[in-house]
């Protein structure tokens, strides 16, 4: 299990793109929304198995960067590569399939389908991938014990606390064994205690599965769980840092 022990390093590293284990690489990304330029030539690389924290003030473009890296948004210019495949050149259907098959997501709130039970919500990515219902639910069940959600299998999202709902969302993001988990302010709607619990569980689970994590946050305490930090400011990734909380 992970345990918060504080920031242990903040050393600069050589460009990850030169490394053989680079999983995602974005170079010179530009993305505008109307007249607003959210990203102005952002470049970043993510190594397989690392937890990368993307930090920055509100409106800096960090969520836009995450959405571009995850294939949710197509950049106006620049290139994004995932495991040797160029994401920015893919069509919407291909990007959807990529997200479904290789990526998991955790957002700040409101991501559970309210009509489904917690168990069904966790099994949803598997059902979407074509797994049979019984098999999908069987794979979902162990996550309840793992994330301390025992007994909540049949609850609906409206019957869960914020922390519980976020842990269900985390299980949903990881149940299909994604190669990358994208987390956008996963503790943003939680109190500090619940936030810490979620982050501890998140880091433990991804390390156990070897999942790469791109974590958007504006909280240094959350960023401290990452192996490395980048800071987005004015649409550019203009600094690199590394940090580690726990093991």
């Amino acid at each position: 299990m992970t345990e918060q022990t504080g920031v242990v390093s903040a050393a600069s590293r050589s460009p990850v793109s030169e490394r053989a284990d680079c999983l995602i690489e974005a170079s010179d990304i530009v993305r505008s929304f109307g007249q607003t330029r959210a990203l102005r030539g952002a470049s970043v690389s993510v190594t397989a198995g690392e937890i990368l924290a993307v930090m920055g003030p509100s409106g800096s473009g960090k969520s836009t960067l995450l959405h571009c890296l995850a294939g949710i948004l197509a950049p106006d210019s620049g290139e994004i590569w995932f495991d040797g495949r160029r994401i920015d050149a893919m069509g919407e259907a291909e990007r959807s399939a990529l997200r479904r098959d290789h990526f998991g997501f955790v957002f700040q709130f409101g991501q559970l389908v309210p009509e489904l039970t917690a168990e069904e919500n966790i099994a949803l990515p598997l059902l979407l991938a074509g797994t049979r219902r019984a098999a999908a639910l069987a794979r979902a069940r162990p996550w309840f014990e793992r994330l301390g959600l025992d007994g909540l299998e049949q609850r609906r999202s409206g019957e869960l606390s914020g922390g519980q709902a976020q842990r269900v969302a985390l299980a949903r993001g990881l149940v299909a064994g994604p190669r990358v988990l994208f987390a956008d302010e996963p503790t943003g709607s939680l109190d500090s205690l619940a936030g810490e619990l979620v982050m501890n569980l998140l880091t433990a689970a991804v390390r156990e599965q070897g999942t790469t994590v791109v974590l958007v946050t504006h909280e240094p305490r959350v960023a401290a769980y990452a192996d490395r930090e980048v800071i987005v400011r004015d649409g550019k990734v203009n600094s690199l840092a590394a940090g580690r909380v726990g093991s």
């Binding site: 969520s63 997200r99 998991g104 409101g110 991501q111 009509e115 489904l116 990515p125 409206g158």
Partner: protein, 787 residues
């Protein structure tokens, strides 16, 4: 707080404006439909009231009969003054004539003194050799050769009948003046309908206790009140549901904003006031626009012959009560609906929480439905009430209970089906849709309740009509039936019709036969003679049930029969054959293959026998039929039934049935678009309420097709489930009704009904499909980013 509500509503930015416009537009549509339904009912009653004067002399006199007393025959205006007892009697004869498939109401009148009553629409009674014609008939007289129409009417036109006497703008009516001696002679000759009257009837055909109060056209069924009550309920119910659904548009967004208002210190009561103000503004704007839409569509709507005849635009009017009920009732109902909806959510300063899983519908919701069916079943066992009013009181509550019961039981049925579906679902779309339906079956059912009612009403109407047609005879048709003209001169030996001092059944003059044969387009003339041999024809021979026994026969020359194959054929070598007396003729093309028994009578003797009927077979051209008809009418004026084609005769006998069918079609035609609109609004509202979870699902890679399937299933499942239930119940209710009211067994409808139902379902599914592009737009990445 009211001022704040108004500010939020009117100056709430683009989103608030769009929401206001959407709700107002939906309410406007609903209100205009309500107004059209109410005005339509008023119009049917007004049209019926203008038939009243045509019932003069045929309406049974009694306490329930109202009459317009006489006024001096020479005075201007309609009869409004004086006492009936003090009036000079008016000779009166009303007959139905035909021209090119249209019915002409012909009224022959003769004043006996200066105080004879004057019918409405004309300034004074026409004198001998004069007539008034309705505008449509006047135009027809001008455009048609006299030998085809004008020659039938003695005298010359002195004026046009005013709108007060016209059931419809295109009514064909003529009022012909005679001397009193001319018409009194008709009574002496036992011409049916010729009578002295002292007042003009003001009894609406809908109040008649008879079934043939007025000749010609319009709704003269005794049970019109029953039909109108059901039609009104069938139309108003779905419209009110639609309005209720419309006011729930964007409810989730509104509730989020209310939470923000609570955060800054507003009390729940203040939030309620703001909500009421918002809803009222939208509803009032919608009501105003709805009235505008109604008046805009009134004129084109009046031209649609819903009852078989068009209305005057002024017929589609609203009473003060109608106006007040809609103008006040709709905004009040909208506010009540919004308030009720707010009670279902818990709006706290920290956000909106749905009251977790709304209470599941209970099985007792089936009670009203079962009670309605039991009520109808009771009258099957106990027998129907004797009076029309009693029947209305007996059956209307039963049908209304079933309709209300369907709406109450619908959510329970939806829930049961959804739970079954969820249990068996293996695909995520099916699972999500089934769970949502099972969680809130009321919301799922609400969207389709309008269509369910439309299907129920349609099924009942079609079931009843199909049964009526089966037992009372379907309208015979076909080209041959429409091409053959029949003049009935007598009804068997001893019942010869006396025309101006001579028996109509006397042998037909050679001059008439020559004239008929000389008409271009007349192909054959056949004479049906009385049978001195006393032959009988078995019912089975005529294609009727053997229980009818046998019917009297008439005789026909085989040479003539061979030229009118519609009537059947002779055995080989026969000179004459016995055919069913014309009163018993099925008038159906199926007779064409029947071989009638030989009549042992010589051709010479046959020609000397009295004639019962003349059949004139034509090539079907209007000119040939109408010239032949004119010639027959001039030769045999004032026959009880003026010459008609078999097609016209069938159309007349099946008129009431067709009017019922017409009303049923109106219900279908109006209900389906309403239900479709309700579905569209409900689907759109459901989508906007679930923007965030759906858009996040898409972000995580859920294909759009999965979300589309969710929406389609959520709407289609309750639609299809309840459609099956409502059509089944429709057949059951129709079966109970025809059994109790008419003593018939329900007959299954033809393919047309199933096509209408399938088309209705397809249209509704199409409307659901039309909302799917919205899904693509509102669940795009931008939504997840900005929510």
């Amino acid at each position: 707080m009211i001022r704040l509500g108004l500010r939020l509503t009117l100056n709430g930015g683009r989103e608030a404006a769009v929401r206001l416009t959407l709700i107002a537009a939906a309410v406007a549509l609903g209100v205009s439909l309500v107004l059209m339904s109410l005005a339509g009912i008023n119009a049917v009653n007004k049209q019926n009231a203008r038939y009243a004067w045509l019932g003069t002399g045929t309406v049974p006199w009694g306490t329930s009969t109202s009459t317009v007393p006489a006024s001096p025959a020479g005075s201007a205006g309609t009869s409004t003054t004086g006492q009936a007892s003090a009036a000079d009697p008016l000779w009166w004869l009303l007959q139905a004539d035909h021209f090119a498939g249209q019915t002409i109401a012909r009224v022959d009148v003769a004043a006996t003194g200066p105080r004879s009553p004057v019918p409405p629409g004309i300034p004074r009674l026409p004198g001998p050799g004069q007539f008034y014609a309705s505008p449509a008939l006047s135009a027809l007289l001008r455009s048609t050769p006299a030998s085809e129409l004008g020659d039938r009417f003695p005298g010359h036109q002195i004026g046009t009948i005013g709108a007060a006497a016209l059931p419809a703008p295109n009514s064909l009516i003529i009022i012909i003046g005679h001397t009193a001696s001319q018409l009194s002679h008709l009574q002496l000759s036992h011409v049916p309908g010729a009578a002295e009257v002292t007042s003009i009837s003001a009894t609406s055909p809908s109040s008649c206790s008879g079934s043939n109060c007025a000749v010609g056209a319009g709704i003269n069924a005794a049970g019109i009140d029953l039909i109108l009550s059901v039609v009104a309920a069938a139309l108003l119910f779905p419209v009110l549901i639609f309005i209720g659904t419309a006011t729930r548009l964007s409810a989730a967004r509104r509730e989020q904003r209310f939470a923000a208002i609570r955060l800054v210190g507003a009390t729940p009561r203040q939030v309620s006031v703001i909500s009421a103000v918002e809803t009222s503004v939208a509803a009032v704007a919608g009501v105003a626009a709805g009235f505008g839409l109604f008046f805009l569509l009134r004129t084109p709507l009046a031209a649609v012959p819903f009852t078989g005849a068009p209305f005057f635009p002024s017929d589609l009017s609203l009473s003060l009560i109608d106006v007040l009920a809609v103008a006040i009732g709709v905004p009040l109902a909208a506010v009540a609906a919004a308030r009720l909806a707010l009670r279902r959510v818990r709006i706290s300063p920290l956000g909106v929480a749905r009251r977790v899983t709304p209470r599941a519908p209970r099985a007792w919701g089936l009670i009203p439905l079962l009670a309605g069916l039991a009520e109808l079943a009771y009258f099957v066992a106990a027998g129907r009430p004797k009076t029309t009013g009693g029947q209305v009181q007996a059956f209307v509550p039963g049908f209304l209970l079933i309709m209300v019961g369907l709406v109450i039981a619908g959510p329970w049925l939806t829930m049961v089906a959804a739970r079954l579906m969820a249990r068996r679902a293996s695909r995520p779309a099916t699972l999500i849709a089934a769970r949502r339906l099972a969680d809130n079956p009321r919301a799922g059912f609400r969207a389709v309740s309008g269509l369910v009612l439309a299907l129920f009403v349609t099924t009942v109407a079609v079931g009843v009509i199909t049964t009526l047609v089966f037992y009372r005879g379907a309208p015979s048709g076909g080209a041959a039936a429409s091409d053959t003209l029949t003049a009935q001169l007598g009804y068997g030996p001893g019942e010869a019709i006396n025309i101006q001092g001579r028996s109509a059944s006397a042998p037909v003059s050679d001059a008439l036969l020559t004239q008929l044969h000389s008409i271009q387009g007349v192909q054959a003339v056949a004479l049906i003679h009385t049978d001195p041999l006393g032959m009988k024809i078995s019912a089975a021979k005529m294609g009727l049930q053997p229980s009818f026994g046998s019917v009297p026969a008439d005789l026909i020359s085989c040479a003539q029969l061979s030229r009118i194959p519609l009537l059947g054929r002779c055995p080989a070598g026969a000179q004459a054959a016995a055919i069913p007396s014309t009163g018993f003729l099925g008038l159906d093309q199926s007779l064409a293959s029947t071989t009638w028994p030989t009549a042992a009578i010589s051709g010479q003797r046959l020609r000397r026998l009295p004639v019962q009927a003349i059949f004139v077979d034509t090539n079907g051209s209007t000119s040939a039929i109408e010239r032949a008809r004119t010639a027959l009418e001039l030769a045999y004026p004032y026959l009880p039934s003026p010459p008609t084609t078999i097609g016209e005769f069938s159309a007349q006998t099946s008129r009431t049935t067709l009017e019922y069918e017409q009303l049923a079609e109106v219900v279908i035609l109006v209900s389906l678009p309403i239900a479709g609109c309700t579905l569209a609004v409900s689907v759109a509202a459901g989508l906007t309420d679930r923007k965030r979870p759906f858009s996040l699902l898409r972000l995580t890679g859920a294909p759009l097709s999965v979300l589309r399937r969710v929406v389609a299933l959520e709407s289609a499942a309750p639609l299809l489930i309840t459609a099956v239930v409502s059509t089944g119940l429709g057949f059951l209710a129709a079966g109970l009704f025809v059994s109790a009211q008419l003593g018939y067994s329900l007959r299954p409808p033809g393919a047309e009904y199933y096509l209408i139902v399938l088309a209705g379902l397809a249209a509704s599914l199409g409307i659901i499909a039309s909302t799917l592009p919205v899904l693509d737009r509102i669940t795009g990445p931008e939504t997840a980013r900005n929510e």
